[in-house]
């Protein structure tokens, strides 16, 4: 009996303690994450690998209490100066009720001095969000780039926000090359270009694949990329200029619609690592029946390049295809 009373008392006390602990404080205080006053913040808006020639986009927000002054300038310092086309927006954006970004001019168009891009404010404002577009330069290929976002107020106070480092991919990219049966049909991965038979004859060692379209009864041939020395049955009636001897390995892929190449809604990106781990040692030297939105992994005969050839579109009547390429240099 005595034990039961003891148990009952402990249970009641525990419940009471639980209820007390859960009681909501009547006057909660919010502790700001940062100091009150001049503040800034940055988010990176672009996704996927950072490829030379593409933009890195950031949204750079800054604000201070109006009684503490106004914004005077905003600048971004990149560890490697951006290519031509790098700029800091002189408009501050907000999103309206319809979800559209509306720009309000707050300063003069940006100017760049070496790795520093600056906007001087002309509007009397104490808050702004500017977009920064960093055009990835050739000098940054395979390097790491970091950024310092600096805001200055009318009192001379400067605050800095650092972003990065971001690794810039080693791979190259070439978009929208039209390849045409019997005309510009000779694809060079080394040059990332398509050539005619005459042009191919002048650079035979650089021609990796030949494009053709055939509509042959009883079989499904359609659009094809074959190496110049593929079996004759896979390149029917194709003119191969003398000297074209590359046996390029090629492996068909479906459902790999790289965002950079396809520019469709699929958030899939091919990165340097994909090329590094790719194994085409067993792949054939031809790929037939290629379709729109399909692709093919390619490794050149000299082992110097690996590439992904994406088929953006095909045209059966014109016997053409529009292709885009990502290429990685191995040696």
């Amino acid at each position: 009996m005595q034990r039961s009373i003891s148990y009952f008392s402990t249970l009641c006390l525990s419940l009471l303690l639980g209820l007390t602990a859960c009681q909501i404080e009547e006057n909660p205080t919010v502790t700001p994450l940062k100091k009150v006053g001049f503040q800034n913040d940055v988010i990176k808006r672009t996704l996927g690998p950072n490829v030379v020639g593409l933009d890195l986009e950031f949204a750079f927000a800054m604000a201070l209490p109006s009684e503490e002054g106004k914004l005077v300038s905003a600048e971004v310092e990149a560890s490697i100066g951006g290519a031509s086309g790098t700029y800091l927006e002189h408009r501050s954006y907000y999103t309206n009720g319809s979800g559209d970004d509306i720009g309000v001019v707050v300063g003069q168009p940006s100017s760049s001095e070496g790795p520093i891009t600056r906007v001087n404010f002309t509007a009397d404002t104490s808050a702004a969000t500017l977009r920064y577009y960093y055009k990835i330069p050739e000098a940054a290929r395979g390097q790491q780039v970091s950024f310092k976002f600096i805001s200055t107020s009318s009192t001379g106070e400067k605050i800095t926000y650092e972003m990065g480092p971001y690794t810039i991919a080693k791979m190259d990219m070439k978009l929208d090359m039209t390849i045409s049966d019997s005309k510009a049909a000779y694809l060079s991965i080394a040059d990332m270009a398509v050539y005619t038979a005459e042009e191919a004859a002048q650079r035979p060692d650089k021609i990796d694949l030949v494009y053709l379209y055939r509509s042959i009864p009883n079989i499904t041939f359609n659009h094809a990329l074959v190496s110049p020395v593929a079996e004759a049955q896979y390149r029917p009636d194709v003119l191969i200029p003398s000297g074209l001897t590359n046996s390029t390995r090629i492996s068909k892929v479906w459902n790999l619609r790289d965002f950079h190449l396809a520019r469709l809604q699929f958030g899939i990106y091919i990165d340097d690592l994909d090329f590094e781990v790719l194994n085409l040692s067993e792949a054939p030297n031809y790929a037939i029946n290629l379709r729109s939105e399909a692709g093919a992994w390619v490794e050149t005969a000299d082992g110097k390049y690996r590439a992904y050839v994406y088929i953006n579109a095909v045209n059966n009547s014109a016997k053409t295809a529009r292709i885009s390429i990502k290429r990685y240099t191995l040696q």
């Binding site: 042959i216 009864p217 009883n218 079989i219 499904t220 041939f221 094809a224 049955q233 896979y234 492996s251 068909k252 892929v253 479906w254 459902n255 067993e282 792949a283 054939p284 031809y286 037939i288 029946n289 399909a294």
Partner: protein, 134 residues
């Protein structure tokens, strides 16, 4: 009271042991050996490196002759294809398919053995491949 508790615990332990005793034994692959003696292939698929079918039409499966006839597209890279078998319930395949298979030697068709659920019936199927010709 204490004595009853001990009996109760012993009973529960016995129940657990009895409940966990497998109804069917397990083979070397960790699969149940059941009572089923059926032994056949119900469907066959062949995928290329792009994981799209390379068949031009449905495979013809003869469960009496134990053959599978597959017609594939012209230009199919038969050195790098992924076969897929659908088998009757509880059966398994020998050898196991663990990745790409080379079917390029058309003169020596590949064979696969279906083993029934009771592991007592074995039937060897031969896969004959025909490539489209112009």
């Amino acid at each position: 009271m204490k004595r009853y508790s001990k009996i109760l615990i012993a009973l529960m332990a016995a129940l657990c042991v009895w409940g966990c005793t497998p109804e069917f034994p397990i083979d070397e692959d960790g699969l149940l050996i059941t009572d089923r003696a059926e032994c056949f292939v119900s469907n066959f698929e062949l995928l290329g490196t792009d994981f799209q079918t390379v068949r031009t039409k449905n495979a013809v499966i003869d469960t009496v002759a134990q053959t599978i006839q597959v017609d594939v597209f012209f230009g199919t890279d038969l050195r790098n294809v992924y076969p897929q078998f659908s088998l009757v319930t509880d059966a398994k395949l020998d050898p196991k398919i663990v990745g790409k298979v080379d079917f390029s030697d058309l003169t020596n068709p590949k064979t696969y053995t279906v083993v029934s659920g009771n592991r007592k019936v074995r039937k060897t199927y031969t896969v004959f491949i025909t490539v489209q010709k112009p």
